[in-house]
């Protein structure tokens, strides 16, 4: 399944109440794929869907991005060659979705057993204003010592969200602000190509199953 990205310029990202159209389109596509692929395949082809997650193999992601680790080093997706890289975009002040997603990521790693070493989980902050390197480092490590907390500047984050088609926006609430954001996780294969989108609600066992398949592809 090929997803052709549609660049929709974001006029004012922060003030934008609705997520950008292209992201919605991707989300809708993901839902459509998820809902229709199983029965269709069941009727015409006996082979079941290869992955539990949404297969986005071939999607033309802009691979030129770099993110900063908490020591200030720039990391590119190519730096993780040989590992499955698992991206989640969130913010540390989120008491609900982000810790749940990272707890699942830690569970996925545990389920992979020895192969867990070949999984690199990356937490990218969408709230660089409050998520200082210090907070980011200890936050990511609280879920698993191998997890990396990465950040980028606001402009590059906007570009990244267009490329990954995730949405985020700052929303004033009461005395503070919060972030609305996409909750899916993005998985890259060991060659550094984006392959899967995992829904927030997907069980850890299904995600681990998918990642195991990606790790096996390399040797087959």
């Amino acid at each position: 399944m090929k997803l052709i990205p549609t660049q929709v310029p974001l006029k004012n990202h922060r003030a934008q109440a609705a997520p950008c159209r292209s992201a919605r389109r991707l989300a809708r596509l993901a839902v459509v794929i998820g809902l229709t692929s199983a029965p269709l395949l069941g009727a015409d082809e006996p082979a079941p869907a290869k992955f539990h997650g949404t297969d986005v193999t071939g999607y033309q992601l802009d691979y030129g991005f770099a993110l900063k680790d908490t020591a200030g080093r720039e990391l590119k997706i190519a730096d993780f060659k040989g590992k499955v890289v698992y991206f989640f975009f969130g913010f540390t002040q989120c008491p609900v979705i982000c810790p749940t997603a990272l707890t699942r990521a830690a569970e996925i790693k545990r389920l992979l057993g020895a192969d867990g070493e070949k999984l690199q989980v990356v937490f990218v902050t969408i709230d660089p204003e409050r998520d200082t390197p210090e907070v980011l480092r200890s936050y990511a490590a609280a879920f698993d010592p191998s997890f990396l907390g990465l950040s980028t500047d606001p402009e590059k984050l906007k570009a990244l969200s267009r490329s990954f088609k995730f949405t985020y926006s700052k929303v004033q609430t009461g005395s503070s602000y919060t972030m609305d954001h996409s909750t899916a996780s993005y998985v890259f294969d060991p060659s550094g190509k984006i392959r899967l989108i995992l829904r927030h609600e997907a069980p850890a066992a299904d995600c681990a199953d998918d990642i195991r398949k990606l790790l096996q592809e390399k040797t087959n």
């Binding site: 993901a30 008491p95 949405t167 909750t183």
Partner: protein, 152 residues
């Protein structure tokens, strides 16, 4: 659930049983140093219909009642003025929905620590009832699933 939580939660839950509102298994998510916000979760059950109208705690500058909603795959969190508690019905405050937001934390919240919360409920006649809740701090890495449903 780790067995070490069983005993403290038992006492915390039963200590409040005589009140109009029953609070079960209250907990707060641990934070890392300099993380300025966290959430408190619990189950509330009121004998008669009332509303949770405010909350406060000495550990945070501001405490708000929030609602988390998923719109498609996008998570949105909003402050709500009050949370309705229908009579004799359990309302869950969990990482999947309503929660009490601790904002502007004055200290790191460490696993095993107890956080005192003051919850204010409003009865239909407008009468206010304040209740002290002691919530145990659970690890940051914790889905909250199933852990708020303990009954004693």
């Amino acid at each position: 659930m780790k067995p070490k939580y069983l005993i403290p939660l038992y006492f915390l839950a039963t200590a409040l049983a005589h009140s109009e509102v029953e609070v079960t298994a209250p907990w707060v998510r641990a934070t890392v140093p300099n993380q300025k916000a966290s959430g408190a979760f619990m189950e509330l059950k009121s004998k008669n219909a009332c509303k949770l109208v405010s909350a406060s705690s000495l550990v945070a500058k501001t405490v708000e009642i929030h609602e988390m909603v998923m719109e498609g795959e996008v998570m949105k969190m909003r402050q709500i003025k009050s949370l309705d508690l229908p009579g004799d019905t359990t309302v869950k405050l969990s990482p999947a929905g309503y929660h009490v937001m601790l904002i502007g934390l004055k200290e790191q919240l460490k696993e095993g620590q107890v956080v005192e919360l003051k919850l204010t409920f409003e009865k239909p006649g407008g009468e206010l009832e304040t209740m002290d809740v002691k919530a145990v701090v659970r690890p940051l890495a914790n889905t909250g699933r199933g852990e708020g449903t303990m009954k004693h």
